[in-house]
């Protein structure tokens, strides 16, 4: 297969990449989702800006209370990182489910989050952990945005900031086959704040595969918190999920229709909550 025609640029700095951006230009990092879109001609940019050789974007760094990952940190690099295993166990657990080892060697964490595909694992984790994008705009400003929200035009994500995980977390997913894109995935995390007595309020739930992008589920989180330390009831989870969805459009495709996704989601959440309670992540 051959993509539609485009021009190609390989800038060596973030500033140079930003200077090239225009509404019909696309940034290319790992390309494990974007190149399939190019060859299927689902994406037809006039210009592809390859950021792979921009130095300084491939580090995972521990800052006070935060883990900062550059836009070129590969999925497998993050999965194998001791820092991620110790400080972001939910992310480490979720990365096991992303693609396969060869795809993970090339695909990037930021790219996975930016694509925000339905059923993708990392947007759910970003919601549960409250990850933020560090965004550079063309006029040289740097802003932050929740990592599951759409990007402002003419900007580039240079890093993702993960708040250090302070409590247990859990992740679960249902997919058609191992290594295939998830149907529904759920990430649950519990932030322990020793200065507060009621830790139950700190539970956060991110869900992927129900709406087109990652969904924050406050009502579901309250159900899990209220049931602690027991497992939440499936019926209560399903009702809370309905409340969290509100009037957002639901997502379905040939892989799994909306009806199945809604049916399986409470069980996926329950299992993620169970892993959290068992302290596995």
């Amino acid at each position: 297969m051959t993509p539609a025609a485009f021009d190609y640029a390989r800038p060596d700095s973030v500033a140079a990449a930003l200077a090239l951006l225009h509404p019909n230009a696309q940034l290319l990092a790992g390309g494990q989702s974007f190149v399939p879109m190019l060859v299927r001609r689902a994406a037809r940019p006039a210009l592809v800006i390859d950021i792979n050789r921009i130095p300084g974007l491939a580090q995972i760094e521990l800052l006070p209370g935060t883990i900062r990952m550059g836009a070129l940190v590969r999925l497998e690099q993050a999965r194998c990182s001791d820092l991620v295993k110790s400080e972001l166990a939910v992310l480490a657990a979720a990365l096991e489910w992303v693609g396969n080892p060869v795809i993970r060697r090339r695909g990037t964490v930021v790219g996975n989050l930016v694509m925000n595909a339905p059923g993708a694992e990392l947007p759910a984790v970003a919601v549960a952990l409250g990850a933020k994008f560090l965004i550079r705009t063309r006029d040289g400003n740097t802003t932050t945005n929740p990592a599951h929200q759409a990007l402002p035009g003419g900007s580039m994500v240079t890093h993702v900031l993960w708040p250090r995980q302070t409590g247990c977390g859990g992740f679960h997913e249902v997919s058609r086959r191992d290594g295939h894109v998830g149907v529904v995935s759920a990430a649950v995390s519990q932030n322990r704040d020793d200065s507060r007595e009621d830790i139950r309020a700190e539970i956060r739930v991110g869900l992927s595969g129900i709406c087109a992008t990652g969904l924050a589920c406050q009502a579901v989180a309250r159900v899990i918190a209220a049931a602690q330390p027991a497992a939440p009831e499936l019926r209560a989870l399903a009702e809370a999920l309905r409340a969290d969805i509100g009037d957002r459009p639901l997502y379905g495709d040939l892989q799994a229709p909306i009806k199945y996704r809604l049916q399986v989601a409470p069980e996926v959440i329950r299992r993620a909550a169970h892993s959290m309670q068992a302290g596995t992540a």
Binding site: M1, T2, P3, A4, A5, F6, D7, Y8, R10, H22, P23, N24, A25, L28, G31, Q32, V35, P36, L38, V39, R40, A46, L47, V48, D50, N52, G99, N100, P101, V102, I103, R105, R106, D178, G179
Partner: protein, 164 residues
């Protein structure tokens, strides 16, 4: 206003299995096509063309990648190794088939052979990085490769035999 696309040709040069290959390519020219057409590496099999099957897997600077998910322009000045470099990837200096190839033959781990070159490249790298893999790790490794002939059991046996 977005500038129109002019698609100028790009000069690329890379090492493919030890030989320097240079060419002028369109930006949209995929690495898999470059390897087959410009470098004559017919072992780079194009299966699905969208990163699902793993047949086109090659090593770029020592890292296994899907050649169909990389632009030829992206591999500029890189070292590309196909299955023709399997002895290098396995660190095997002898003659004839490499230990991994031999094991595939002995265990009937291939039939039509379409998935085999990509599978051998990524398995050689996998074993170099995990000399004693658990069975679960082998299964996870095989996630990235579709084989429609063997049912995988013989491939697993072949890999386990070279990594006891």
């Amino acid at each position: 206003m977005a500038p129109a696309c002019t698609e100028p040709l790009i000069d690329v040069a890379m090492t493919v299995d030890g030989a320097r290959i240079a060419g002028r390519v369109r930006p949209r020219y995929l690495l898999s096509d470059f390897l087959r057409e410009a470098a004559g590496a017919a072992s780079v099999h194009i299966g699905c063309g969208q990163g699902l099957c793993g047949a086109c897997t090659v090593a770029v600077d020592g890292v296994p990648v899907r050649a169909c998910l990389m632009l030829a322009a992206q591999a500029d000045e890189c070292r590309v190794q196909t299955v023709a470099s399997l002895n290098v990837l396995e660190g095997y200096n002898g003659a004839g088939l490499t230990p991994l190839q031999n094991s595939f033959r002995e265990h009937h781990a291939l039939q039509c052979g379409f998935c085999t070159p990509g599978l051998l490249v990524s398995t050689a790298i996998f074993l170099a990085e995990n000399p004693r893999p658990a069975r679960r790790a082998i299964l996870q490794h095989l996630n990235g490769h579709l084989c429609r002939c063997t049912g995988y059991a013989n491939i697993i046996a072949a890999i386990e035999a070279v990594a006891p």
